[in-house]
């Protein structure tokens, strides 16, 4: 589904990713961990197509298409979704209007007609339940005055509405209390199927108690330096990153 090869990227002339490789198959959940500044959020941003980042080498293939060649909205149309670490506020635009516009834009990209209001509303209600997002939030402006937890739940709600093939979660767990964390994780688990995949960027092992990854990757200095099963996350929680960094530096 997703194949990243030799990816190098920089921001304002500073190189962040230095030859990253990653392959994700349908039905898989990949966790990306690593110390601060290792390039985790950069990876998420590059996949979504944020303009600040310049890709200087490497390739990203997504379902047979060159992802790097597509504009951000085209990537969304192809089925890439990024749950933002810091969801953006859009004053005066209701959450419901926003997501309706998004759903229909994505449908248009895929050559589908706009969704009937009735169908949309029932879809909306079902997905709101999934992340226990109150109906009131649907009528409030996008993320405006939302608590940290509400913002993150709103991200998962939007993801549920758009039903992406690849969901990238950028530190969705940061700033969440344990209840909110469970709700978010539960949302992801409900959405998970054999046809889609998730890349979960996280700092802490905690989230992985609820979203069980098939693979855990450690990102360091812009590269994936170690890959393991979910036990690796527990080991990291226990021992920190230093041993991996030492191991890596000895090798190189």
């Amino acid at each position: 589904m997703l194949k990243i090869e030799g990816l190098e990227a920089e921001i304002e002339g500073k190189q962040i990713l230095r030859g990253l490789n990653l392959e994700v198959k349908p039905g898989e959940i990949h966790a990306i961990m690593g110390p601060n500044g290792s390039g985790k959020s950069t990876l998420a941003s590059v996949l979504a197509g944020r303009e600040d980042y310049e890709v200087t080498a490497g390739s990203v293939d997504f379902l047979g298409k060159d992802l790097l060649d597509l504009a951000p909205e085209e990537r969304a149309g192809e089925g890439v979704f990024l749950a933002f670490q810091y969801p953006v506020e859009i004053p005066g635009v209701s959450n419901i209007n926003f997501i309706k516009t998004a759903v229909n834009e994505v449908r248009e990209y895929r050559g589908l007609p706009a969704m009937e209001t009735k169908e949309f509303m029932s879809h909306l209600k079902e997905k709101q339940k999934l992340v226990k997002l109150s109906g009131k939030l649907a009528n409030r402006s996008v993320n405006e005055g939302f608590s940290g937890g509400e913002k993150k739940r709103n991200e998962i709600f939007q993801m549920a509405m758009l039903e992406p093939k690849l969901g990238v979660l950028d530190e969705t767990d940061s700033g969440l209390d344990i209840d909110a964390l469970r709700i978010v994780a539960n949302g992801v688990n409900e959405l998970k199927s054999n046809d889609n995949a998730f890349v979960v960027v996280t700092h802490y092992q905690r989230l992985l108690d609820y979203i069980v990854p098939d693979f855990v990757h450690v990102l360091y200095d812009g590269k994936i330096v170690k890959t393991g099963s979910k036990e690796l996350a527990l080991e990291l929680e226990d021992k920190g990153y230093d041993w991996i960094i030492e191991e890596f530096e000895k090798k190189s």
């Binding site: 909205e73 149309g77 953006v88 004053p91 635009v93």
Partner: protein, 483 residues
């Protein structure tokens, strides 16, 4: 977003061509160029006006000659040569129209191209449209239904003939001839306009709507609108404008007067989309308008809602004089400037009566190299005990070559008054755009979404049908303004 991208964006922003630029071929009768007593006599004679109105015009002309063009607004433009303007143009007079079939098909075609559905469907939708085409009304619908209720809605010239007492009583009562340079000019040479009278206790059952359109090259447009709401009445009045593309600058100096009696309410909504000039700022309409409402008696209410997207230079301050106790004035405004447009717009709220209340919500959006200013005066007179005002002025910038300015003036002479002013300036963030893009929303649509969100609490005050049109207009005027 890198600098060069932003430059590109701004370039694209300025490449949006005016979509309504075309000229329709309609026979016109023109006055001679220039402004003399003769011109005024010509106009008055053309319109078969009574002597008193001619005198009234001539008095205004005398006053105007002694006045100077105001230059305090934050706008710059070559001063119009008032002797190089044709002060009167009217489609050749035909007989009165009973139905649309009798109207010049050219005119109807013009409206069709504007997307103004002036047809039976519109009539069925409950909108009576009094079309002002180059100064003379050519079609009026729904007149009969309105007249059953005693509502008068007709062209100004017709009102002068049919209801001279009402006109005599109210003309210049809110905006006197000598009020300012442009109102004096208008008073001297006004060609036509609309008159609306709602009798005591009548609630006008439909939105009254007038479409203005400037059509003759080099012709100044001097419309005059007068709305009188008697005790306990209600009316919602809509004015919408577009103009065809022209190279010469066209001057527009309208006057709108509203009088609201006890317990009455007048809602006045405008969508203005005149030709703003090309991207280098050539051509375009000069829009110097005096709009003022008088809450003459207690518990009256006047509400101005405007969406301004057009004109090269706009100079416009719809105001309320809150004379009656407990009267209410409201001003809701969206002003969009793009390319080289300049807008200096706002309101004046003059609190005279006790417990008078005013609300001002102004949203300025600047793109391209445009300049957008809010200028507002809140004045509380000595006797205005318990007066209250709330003002909110928000500016949104698109790109980094435009300007937003706020000039709030507050004069308060009563200690019990409460005046609040809030102002914000923000830029459409690349974060917001990226967030929308990531959800699959294209940039143009995202801009529309963000801008409409920014203007929401003003747009909410527009009548439903008008709001849809206005939303579309916002999107059109900012089309291509980012990536």
């Amino acid at each position: 977003m890198s600098m060069s991208d932003e430059d590109k964006i701004i370039e694209e922003a300025t490449s949006g061509e005016y979509k309504y630029g075309f000229v329709s071929n309609i026979d016109s009768e023109l006055a001679q160029k220039g402004l003399t007593e003769e011109t005024i006599r010509f106009i008055s004679n053309k319109k078969n006006e009574p002597e008193w109105l001619l005198e009234w015009r001539l008095k205004a002309f005398e006053l105007w000659k002694g006045m100077e063009e105001p230059n305090w607004a934050h706008v710059s433009y070559p001063k119009p040569n008032f002797q190089d303007i044709i002060y009167y143009a009217a489609p050749k007079p035909k007989k009165k129209y009973e139905s649309l079939d009798e109207v010049d098909p050219e005119i109807l075609k013009t409206f069709e191209r504007l997307g103004v559905p002036i047809n039976e469907q519109k009539a069925l939708a409950g909108v009576a449209v009094d079309v002002v085409m180059d100064s003379v009304s050519v079609a009026t619908t729904f007149k009969e239904k309105l007249s059953e209720l005693g509502i008068i809605f007709c062209s100004f010239s017709e009102a002068v003939k049919e209801y001279p007492e009402l006109i005599k009583k109210y003309i210049g009562s809110v905006v006197p001839q000598a009020d300012n340079f442009y109102s004096a000019l208008n008073s001297a040479v006004f060609s036509d306009g609309s008159f609306c009278y709602i009798p005591k206790g009548v609630r006008c059952p439909m939105e009254l709507s007038t479409y203005f359109r400037i059509n003759e090259a080099n012709t100044g447009q001097f419309e005059r609108t007068l709305i009188v709401a008697e005790e306990g009445s209600y009316v919602s009045y809509l004015e919408g404008c577009t103009a065809p593309q022209r190279d010469e600058n066209q001057l527009h100096a309208a006057v709108v007067e509203i009088v609201a009696m006890k317990d009455s309410e007048v809602k006045y909504s405008t969508v203005q989309n005149w030709y703003p000039g090309d991207k280098k700022g050539r051509g375009g309409i000069y829009n110097f308008v005096t709009k003022r409402g008088l809450c003459a008696e207690e518990n009256s209410k006047i509400s101005w809602t405007q969406v301004e997207t057009g004109s090269a230079v706009t100079w416009k301050y719809p105001s309320c004089i809150l004379k009656g106790d407990n009267s209410v004035g409201e001003f809701f405004s969206v002003a969009v400037t793009n390319n080289m447009q300049q807008a200096d717009t706002g309101t004046k709220m003059i609190h005279l009566g006790k417990n008078t209340k005013s609300t001002i919500v102004s949203k300025g959006i600047s793109a391209g190299k445009s300049q957008n200013s809010y200028r507002g005066l809140v004045k509380v007179a000595k006797g205005a005990k318990g007066a209250r005002n709330f003002s909110q002025c928000d500016s949104l910038l698109i790109g980094d070559r435009c300007g937003a300015h706020t000039f709030p003036y507050i004069e308060c002479q009563n200690k019990s008054a409460k005046v609040e002013h809030e102002a914000t300036t923000s830029k459409i963030g690349e974060d917001q755009l990226f967030y929308c893009n990531q959800r699959g929303i294209k940039t143009d649509k995202a801009i529309g979404l963000i801008v409409n969100g920014f203007c929401k609490n003003v747009m909410d005050n527009l009548p439903m049908e008008f709001a849809i049109e206005a939303k579309k207009l916002l999107e059109i005027s900012l089309e291509g303004s980012v990536g």
